[in-house]
């Protein structure tokens, strides 16, 4: 945590990375991993049938995939690096030191994927017939494989990051494979990408074929059959995933409150999954039987349900990690497990570089509390916006006067009662200062600004920390 901290009040740092990362996944899964194999299949089919209009259709779809994946897709991917640098420099900095070679390898695969996309799209018209066409389809198959491999690798790294307790002892990538959630997660992502790709390409067909045309009927049916073929696998993956979620979640959440909430939530997830599967199956069957029946707006319904389902899916993945950013090594606020005891003994402020107050005095309590908030809480909570720290206390203590003793007790024991929270990394005086700040914030609701606009320590204001 020894960085000037970027802080986006109201919106929240957490939501910022969630938006960038989700957008990346929503582009990557349907438009790259799922769509490339489907479009290569379309191309191959057109070539087998000797149909120029079929080939041209596949080409037009590829153009859309090419534009989207090499702009929004690639940039949101790089954007994850740029955003994590802002919201958790200590976390991503440490992760790079641990997983450098994994990411380096993933980068090489990523470069290959982008080069293959460029070649596949740009040589379409040049490699048009005979052996050339075979080569072109071969390039497409390779591209599809690489696209999937990036997902295999990055899912392994994510799983490895979260595999609790494995890294310090084994330091091995195999632990990723043994992560209980890895294989079902990969199966779920893969089959889901294929189905979503079908949905997205189906949507494109409305723009690239005329309604009355025979091509519309045939291509919609083709895509619907593609989806139909994946549905059994997808449903199997859904069931597999649903059955391992409790293991993964409950291993990390040993509190019954959350267990109760979770059980309720797990049921909800099951209902959503069943509903998504039902709607998809229905859509696909209609597509197979009467390809021209569904209008384009109707496709939005399964799409929205899938997005919702996927949101839940990613939430589980994120939740398993807490309260750590690196399992058993570093908490999500950047405090290392091994430095926690001295912060709890001496306080965290004497050891913090980028704060205005290096100790709590009789006059600076609220200001020092704000500094503590910035270091200890601001990676996940805002002042009065999304996931507001004030709202959390409001939920607990209501509208009346808040009892300071109770708040203090809460701060010192919150990691026992809400196990996704890290332990408070400060001493009692700092906890009390934080309470002072909470009281002030509750009445003035004044937002605070991070290092990007407001960090202004007096030079050499850092006290000797001994």
């Amino acid at each position: 945590m020894d960085f000037p901290l970027f802080f986006l009040d109201y919106f929240g740092n957490r939501l910022l990375i969630a938006v960038v990362a989700s957008l990346h996944v929503f582009i990557n899964h349907p438009f790259a991993v799922g769509a490339y194999p489907l479009v290569v299949l379309l191309e191959w089919w057109g070539w087998r049938k000797g149909s120029a209009e079929w080939d041209n259709l596949a080409y037009k779809i590829t153009r859309v995939l090419f534009i989207i994946t090499t702009s929004v897709g690639a940039l949101t991917g790089v954007g994850i690096w740029l955003t994590t640098a802002l919201i958790a420099p200590f976390g991503i900095g440490s992760l790079i030191r641990v997983f450098f070679w994994g990411w380096f390898f993933e980068w090489l695969v990523f470069i290959s994927e982008v080069i293959l996309i460029l070649i596949y799209y740009m040589t379409w018209k040049k490699l048009a017939s005979g052996l050339h066409k075979k080569i072109h389809i071969g390039i497409g198959v390779t591209l599809s494989a690489f696209s999937w491999i990036t997902m295999v690798v990055i899912t392994a790294i994510l799983g490895f990051m979260m595999g609790s307790g494995k890294w310090p002892e084994t330091q091995s990538f195999l632990s990723a494979v043994f992560n209980p959630i890895y294989l079902p997660q990969l199966a779920f992502r893969t089959t889901f990408a294929m189905i979503l790709a079908g949905l997205c390409i189906w949507f494109m067909l409305f723009f690239f074929t005329r309604k009355a045309a025979e091509l519309r009927r045939k291509s919609v049916r083709f895509v619907a059959i593609w989806m139909l073929a994946w549905i059994p696998l997808w449903i199997a993956a859904l069931a597999w995933y649903w059955s391992v979620v409790p293991d993964a979640m409950l291993a990390n959440i040993n509190v019954a409150l959350l267990t109760q909430k979770f059980m309720h939530w797990h049921e909800t997830l099951g209902i959503i999954m069943a509903a998504a599967a039902g709607v998809i199956v229905l859509t696909v069957l209609i597509g197979c039987v009467t390809p021209r029946f569904l209008p384009r707006v109707a496709l939005l319904i399964p799409f929205v349900i899938c997005v919702w389902l996927f949101g839940h899916f990613e939430r589980v993945r994120e939740f398993v990690r807490k309260p750590y950013v690196i399992a058993d090594y570093m908490y999500s606020n950047g405090v290392r497990v091994s430095e926690l005891p001295i912060f709890q003994r001496d306080g965290i402020l004497p050891y913090a570089t980028y704060v205005d107050n290096h100790s709590v005095t009789s006059t600076n309590a609220a200001d020092a509390g704000r500094d503590v908030f910035m270091i200890a809480c601001s990676r996940c909570h805002t002042t009065v916006g999304v996931n507001s720290v004030i709202d959390k206390f409001q939920d607990l203590y209501g509208d009346g006067q808040w009892d300071e003793g109770a708040m203090s007790a809460f701060i010192s024991s919150m990691h026992n009662t809400r196990t996704y929270m890290p332990p408070f990394p400060g001493n009692e005086k700092e906890a009390n200062a934080l309470i002072e700040y909470m009281k002030k914030l509750r009445s003035d609701r004044e937002p605070i600004f991070g290092g990007q606009t407001a960090w202004s320590p007096k030079p050499s204001s850092k006290d000797n920390a001994d």
């Binding site: 020894d2 949101t76 040993n254 019954a256 409150l257 050891y351 109770a406």
Partner: protein, 467 residues
């Protein structure tokens, strides 16, 4: 903190990450310089291509053949920009690895601008595609709109490097960090503007050289694709651009050098820049020979020019690294010392803790129900309602039944809709729960000497901040 009477006085001295690097520091730095040059090569071509394309398209309004040339250049941008982005990840990983503290701090201090790279580059890319794929459809009356789209992409491509330059520059001067309030104020630190023009001119020179080879190569069907031009003419045109841009570098290069803050200037840097300059002069000489060469002979020296040009880039890239190293040397040393100092404090504290010293009352000493109760005190008080029933009320329900408390605490239900549901405390274990159950009944009965203490500590209105 000691007052530092040197170039870095006023700089914050934070602690570095404690994890070791996954490979040698020297190896990461070599990797950084090489991978960065590969990335910046395509960035240069992307920016240069975009600028050329817009400029030639405007010329094309008057002389139609430049419009065709502009279009052919535009076709190269989409490939170069994809490679520029994907190749950027490697050097980003390396710089994060080896300048973790300095680079992330600069990112944070220019946070909004740093994040805005993501949407801005995305928009620039989409505009580039729009420009490329509407060339036929947006002719005639919409030609101006078409040029504006290309110009907008170009403008973004020209602006975004400021954010990267500002960061790469700001990281070198920690003593200025406390003055920085976002991107615009960071542009005043170091010598961002001379470096920007140096970079821009390099983009022009490199793109000129690239296009001289791209259109000049044997395999390029000039007759089909650009019938209004011939090959030697195209070679000469782009050689000229590379030539004049390189001459301009004779002004911008020294300007960058003299405006560099003194802190990182070293003899090595001068030697490297001197060597680079000599080779650059050879490049200029060769380029002038190429420009003057006959249509038959032009292009013969192309590979040699590229080789020397590559050498200049490699030497200047190394020079830039040498400057960075010497500029940061002192601060890095201070950070290292601070990291070590903290590490020894941390180790000492851990050892004392392990030996059972220094434990506060909360954790040290024998386990008592009172200590375990701290987990409950966030919601339960003796005779008041905080976020849950008071202990007196608990006592009235569980009098003589501590096992009931234990059972409930392990698997709580929800009796009162006005309170948030109670979390389970099964993770505390039976031993602690038994202690706390006894404690709760003792205090809740109101007969204990401890009762008063608890009430006090739980309901203090003004916590003593001076303790």
């Amino acid at each position: 903190m000691n007052v530092i009477a040197t170039a870095v006085s006023g700089a914050p001295i934070p602690r570095d990450l404690e994890l070791p690097l996954p490979l040698g520091e020297f190896e990461v730095k070599v990797l950084l310089v090489v991978l960065f040059l590969a990335h910046i090569f395509f960035v240069n071509l992307m920016i240069g291509g975009s600028v050329f394309s817009v400029f030639l398209e405007i010329l094309g309004l008057k002389w139609a053949r430049f419009d065709s040339l502009s279009r052919k250049i535009a076709e190269t941008i989409t490939v170069n920009k994809s490679l520029a982005v994907v190749l950027g990840v490697g050097p980003l990983l390396c710089i994060n690895l080896v300048y973790t503290l300095h680079f992330y701090s600069a990112n944070s201090l220019t946070g909004y601008a740093w994040f805005s790279i993501v949407p801005l580059v995305t928009i620039a890319f989409l505009l580039t595609y729009l420009h490329k794929y509407t060339w036929d459809r947006w002719g005639g009356s919409r030609k101006r709109l078409h040029i504006i789209v290309g110009g907008a992409a170009s403008f973004l491509f020209l602006s975004i490097p400021f954010v990267f330059l500002a960061n790469i520059n700001l990281m070198l001067f920690p003593e200025k960090w406390h003055e920085v309030r976002g991107l615009f104020s960071s542009l005043g630190v170091g010598n961002v503007f001379p470096r920007y023009f140096h970079f821009l001119t390099a983009s022009i020179a490199l793109t000129g050289l690239f296009l001289a080879g791209w259109f000049g190569r044997k395999g390029y069907p000039v007759e089909d694709k650009l019938p209004e031009f011939n090959r030697p003419e195209l070679r000469r045109l782009f050689y000229r651009i590379a030539y004049y841009a390189t001459i301009a570098q004779l002004v911008f290069g020294p300007l960058v050098l003299v405006t560099l803050p003194y802190s990182g200037i070293s003899l090595e840097l001068f030697l490297l820049v001197g060597a680079g300059l000599l080779i650059a002069l050879m490049v200029l000489f060769l380029l002038s020979r190429e420009i003057k060469a006959s249509d038959v002979r032009i292009g013969k020296r192309y590979a040699f020019v590229c080789l020397l040009f590559g050498a200049v880039v490699l030497i200047m890239g190394t020079g830039r690294h040498v400057y960075r190293e010497s500029s940061l040397a002192e601060h890095k040393k201070l950070v290292e010392d601070e990291t070590m100092r903290f590490h020894s404090i941390e180790t000492a504290a851990r050892m004392r803790l392990a030996a059972g010293l220094d434990l506060g009352d909360a954790i040290g000493g024998p386990l008592t129900g009172e200590k375990v109760f701290k987990n409950c005190a966030a919601c339960h008080a003796v005779d008041r309602v905080l976020a849950a029933p008071s202990l007196k009320e608990v006592y009235s329900v569980y009098k003589d039944n501590p096992a009931g408390i234990i059972e409930w605490a392990k698997k709580p239900g929800r009796k009162r809709p006005e309170f948030a549901p109670m979390p389970s405390f099964s993770q505390l274990g039976d031993e602690k729960l038994a202690l706390v159950a006894d404690y709760i009944l003792e205090i809740g009965s109101g007969e204990s000497a401890n009762a008063g203490n608890v009430t006090d500590s739980v309901s203090t209105d003004t916590p003593d901040m001076t303790q």
